[in-house]
């Protein structure tokens, strides 16, 4: 029996960890128990920022995070974990999985770890986007309104893009955000999506919630196993990991839609949260800035350019179909949502 200890960077009760446990159970069942995945909470053995280094060194056998968590090690990690504004070409989380499984994404993903110089084998497990624009102390009707607020932004390129469009972007540790909002140190913040946001407690200090945002339309979490440990597994165990990973890609998405739906219902019906549509001018400004920053990164890094090109090639074929079909669906869905809101 082989035990793979996986330290996550996400709190133990989060949905990501719940689905990771589900994946672990599938792997155990598929291997008749010969391969066990034991999930360790964030910070259990090393700090969250050191998780990948620890897996690379063999200190722990596995790690679990969002891929873009490692953008500091290689900028292209962002294109896998949270391609800003849908890679600037309108890829949503379902289209991302399509690119990953059939559009050449998986091969590039395997290459990513080599480019990073870490000895790991990665498995894309959980599409968990789209994330919300965020929480505001007062409603905003235009970008000019938005620019009045000190906004806690996500790290990396998605956050830099806010800075580029003139948002007063604030860097702040996770634990400081809620008290800072309460005391008015900052005026607005983003975190994730309805379920994690409501667990975090934003609704207790802010009431104006905007679902439509572009900074993390697509978000993916993945598992990586120390390369030597992976090589030591039997063929059946390797196959079990692959099959369970594919199952997880669909189960996680299904799970999150329902869970976020329940959370949003509770937020709006029981906790006085008011939903607003994001101002129109946000989309164009953010999209232009995101594309500019994608271009800049592509110029500076060959592998980044290669991955982005692959996503653009895929989008050229798939997005017109998918976005076109989705529009009718989205409009219908919004009409239904409005009808039950009244």
């Amino acid at each position: 029996q082989t035990v793979i200890r996986v330290q996550s960077v996400i709190p133990a009760k989060a949905d990501e960890v719940f689905m990771l446990e589900d994946f672990a159970k599938d792997v155990s069942d598929l291997t008749d128990g010969s391969l066990q995945i034991e999930v360790l909470p964030a910070g259990a053995i090393v700090g969250v920022a050191e998780t990948l280094d620890a897996v690379d060194a063999g200190l722990i056998e596995g790690g679990f995070a969002w891929t873009h968590y490692w953008s500091g090690k290689h900028p292209a990690a962002m294109l896998f974990g949270s391609p800003v504004a849908g890679a600037g070409v309108g890829i949503d989380n379902i289209a991302f999985v399509s690119w990953f499984q059939y559009g050449g994404g998986k091969e590039l993903y395997d290459q990513l770890w080599k480019e990073m110089g870490v000895n790991v084998k990665g498995f894309m497990l959980q599409p968990v986007g789209p994330e919300a624009l965020g929480w505001f102390k007062e409603p905003i009707t235009s970008m000019d309104d938005f620019r009045k607020y000190r906004f806690r932004t996500p790290p990396g390129i998605p956050g830099q893009t806010y800075k580029d469009i003139g948002i007063a972007s604030v860097a702040m540790g996770g634990g400081d955000i809620l008290p800072a909002l309460e005391k008015g140190t900052i005026d607005a913040a983003e975190w994730c999506c309805p379920k994690p946001d409501s667990v975090f407690g934003f609704q207790k200090v802010l009431k104006h919630y905007y679902l439509q945002g572009l900074h993390q339309v697509v978000v993916n979490a993945d598992l990586y196993i120390n390369g030597d440990v992976y090589e030591g597994l039997s063929d059946r165990e390797k196959k079990a990991l692959e099959v369970a990973a594919n199952a997880s890609l669909s189960k996680s998405m299904s799970y999150r839609i329902f869970e976020n739906g329940k959370a949003l219902k509770d937020l709006t019906e029981n906790q006085g949260v008011i939903l607003h549509d994001t101002p129109e001018d946000y989309f164009k400004e953010y999209m232009d800035a995101a594309r500019a920053s994608l271009e800049k990164n592509a110029e500076e890094n060959a592998f980044f350019a290669e991955v982005w090109q692959s996503q653009k090639d895929f989008a050229e074929i798939a997005v017109p179909f998918w976005a076109g079909a989705q529009t009718s669906n989205a409009n219908l869905g919004r009409a239904f949502a409005d009808s039950i809101a009244k």
């Binding site: 110089g117 008290p179 407690g201």
Partner: protein
């Protein structure tokens, strides 16, 4: 050989002198951020949006710059601190020996543990840093994405300073042990160097050198290799309880133990990776950047004599009351607890500020030390508190709810401490003598004026630290920067500021910061080895496998946390033990007639109060060592005995919160509802 000692000491003296200056950019960056961000908000509010956007606004770099420089400081100053002997020893046995024996034991420990451990740490952290330079790795916590290599370089560089200083300290030991022994050591030295080289190479390249397999086969042959790693963790704990009292500096003892038992339980090379990663994470911790700032604030105020005046004036006012200073210490510590979430900072500030007056007034050392350490640990319960910030996501309870729930228990404990200290003084007046007859003032107006004037400086300081949080200007870490800056302004206003005095405060700040941060990093590493061995999970699962009624389970859970808090710090307990217990505790909610959220909030506060005792339970009671660091004239034994009395008070507080959950749950329910 004497020139070698002199040269090394000079190198580290200058390393310290230069490093301590780094606190100024940390302070400047924080003040800039707080000012610029608050001005932006203010100008927008009054309608000057364009001015706000053109000239002000949050900076992206302050967060990164402050945490990185503050982290680099404690590594770069480590060699200087070793030279100045600031690392605390639990020297109960050690001090009974003759200087010659002390020197011999030290020399042996330096050779057997210090050099192998630090040389390997130097190699692995050097490799880790080199990789950061080669790949241009960046931080991923913020939008700024600062390059990591420059700050990370402080790690191998600081260890190099430590290794050098180790050579100097070893040579000093050789001089002190007398000619006969010194000759033996010098004769053995060539053999030692060969053994050291082989050991290091066999750890780094286990496959190419036969020594590694030799050691491995030895452990297997003796049966030691067979022991399950969770059991090795238990042995490690047992050995630690003894090893600390050998009297080598505690932070290094923890490192040696982690290294030895980690090598036994998993792998010697990996254990140094673990150490490197743990030190890296302490270095980059943004909340810990508050430590040097709060320490600096305390030292500046003490040097300017501005805090002594407060304590003296309280004594004047309560001149007939026994133990008036205990009351003053607890009052100030409760206020400070609301300004900082870091125990090390509170305990050292209080020690620096109050100990002198208490000594002079003939106060009982044990009770004084107990009051200061217990009062200092309140900072981790009364918001803002790092521990609750870490616990929030673990329990999935909003941090603000936990903050609200902690306030009443925190004040209750402060009240219990005061009750205890005054009660003891009432029974035995010699514990806290009142002012002598002839020192007692007759003029009430004079007393009132002294009290008012004494109260002004600390009130202004608290206003700049705590006030900046409450006004929404600063985060808790930035508030430390505001407090430190406030202290500078205050000494300027009182005409007590000199560059010489400011510089002395900076270098003293560096010494205490290294003492605190090195202990934190070493005990985090020790805890990480313990977790990697799997002992905490094993103990917890063992407990949960027992079949018992809810209240009994809760009591057992609390007992387990209490016992683990004795050898461990709160970090591994919150991160490792608490998550395992959550399902069980949440399952008890119906039986206790609470919602799951209420149950977990209550549980979180119980754990917090319980873990506060971890700071007061020797031998791994870091606050004892922080206090010893700033009040060297107090015996560590007295500090231990003093804090253990307050451990009992703590236990009473815990029982109260356990019996009356409303103590924790009433306020969050009142503020936020349900």
């Amino acid at each position: 050989m004497r020139p070698v000692v002199a040269t090394i000491d000079l190198v580290n003296l200058w390393a310290g002198r230069i490093t301590c200056l780094l606190l100024t950019p940390v302070m400047a960056a924080m003040i800039t951020e707080v000012f610029s961000r608050s001005m932006f908000g203010f100008l927008v509010d009054i309608g000057y949006e364009d001015t706000a956007r053109t000239y002000f606004g949050p900076t992206l770099w302050s967060y990164e710059v402050t945490r990185m420089i503050a982290g680099a400081m404690f590594m770069l100053g480590a060699g200087y601190a070793l030279m100045r002997g600031v690392h605390i020893r639990a020297d109960f046995i050690y001090r009974k020996w003759s200087p010659k024996t002390q020197a011999t034991v030290d020399a042996i420990l330096y050779m057997a543990f210090y050099f192998p451990a630090l040389l390997l740490f130097l190699y692995i952290s050097g490799e880790y840093t080199l990789k950061a330079w080669l790949t241009g790795e960046r931080a991923m916590d913020t939008t700024f994405m600062a390059p990591l290599a420059p700050a990370r370089t402080a790690m191998p560089l600081g260890i190099l300073f430590l290794v050098l200083q180790g050579v100097s300290e070893l040579l000093k030991c050789l001089y002190r042990m007398g000619h006969v022994r010194e000759r033996k050591f010098v004769l053995f030295l060539p053999f030692y160097l060969i053994i050291l080289t082989i050991t290091i190479l066999s750890v780094l390249f286990p496959s190419t050198l036969p020594a590694g397999t030799l050691i491995e086969s030895l452990t297997v042959a003796t049966g030691f290799g067979e022991m399950p790693s969770a059991t090795i963790g238990l042995v490690m704990l047992a050995v630690m309880l003894l090893a600390i009292f050998v009297g080598f500096p505690i932070s290094f003892t923890l490192i040696f133990l982690g290294f030895t038992f980690g090598a036994w339980g998993f792998s010697s090379k990996l254990v140094f990776y673990l150490q490197t990663l743990q030190f890296n994470s302490v270095m980059l911790d943004e909340t810990l950047a508050a430590v040097p700032l709060f320490v600096f604030m305390g030292i500046m105020m003490e040097k300017a004599g501005l805090m002594e005046r407060l304590f003296t004036s309280v004594q004047l006012m309560l001149s007939r009351t026994h133990g008036a200073l205990y009351l003053a210490v607890l009052f100030v510590s409760t206020i400070f607890a609301a300004a900082t979430g870091i125990v090390g900072a509170s305990v050292t500030i209080l020690g620096i500020m109050a100990a002198k007056t208490m000594n002079r007034s003939g106060y009982n050392v044990q009770l004084a030390a107990g009051t200061i350490t217990a009062g200092g640990t309140l900072g981790i319960l009364i918001p803002p508190s790092i521990m609750l910030v870490v616990m929030g996501p673990v329990l999935e309870i909003p941090v603000t709810d936990l903050f609200a729930a902690a306030i009443i228990p925190g004040l209750m404990l402060a009240f219990l401490y005061a009750l205890y200290a005054l009660g003891r003084c009432w029974l035995n007046p010699t514990l806290g003598p009142p002012l002598a007859e002839d020192e007692r003032p007759n003029d009430i107006a004079y007393v009132a004026r002294e009290f008012f004037l004494g109260l002004v400086p600390p009130a202004l300081l608290v206003a700049s630290a705590l006030g900046s949080i409450l006004m929404g200007w600063a985060t808790p870490t930035e508030a430390a920067g505001c407090g430190a800056f406030g202290a500078v302004l205050l000494t300027l206003a009182y005409g007590k500021f000199t560059f010489r005095g400011g510089y002395d405060a900076l270098i003293k700040t560096l010494e205490i910061t290294v003492l605190i941060m090195f202990l934190v990093a070493a005990s985090n590493f020790f805890g990480a080895v313990f977790s990697r061995l799997g002992t905490p999970s094993m103990l917890t699962e063992l407990l949960l496998s027992l079949d018992m009624p809810p209240t009994v389970i809760l009591i057992m859970v609390m007992a387990l946390i209490f016992i683990l808090g004795w050898p461990l710090e709160w970090v591994p307990i919150v991160l490792i033990i608490v998550p395992i217990l959550i399902p069980v505790v949440a399952g008890l909610a119906p039986a206790m007639a609470m919602s799951e959220t209420q149950m977990l909030t209550w549980f979180g506060i119980l754990v917090a109060v319980n873990l506060q005792t971890a700071w007061l339970s020797p031998p791994v009671a870091l606050s004892a060592y922080f206090l010893k660091g700033v009040v060297p004239e107090w015996d560590l034994k007295d500090i231990y005995l003093g804090m253990m009395q307050f451990m009992v008070i703590q236990l009473i507080g815990l029982i109260l919160v356990f019996t009356f959950p409303k103590i924790a749950l009433w306020l969050p329910n009142y503020i936020y509802g349900g």
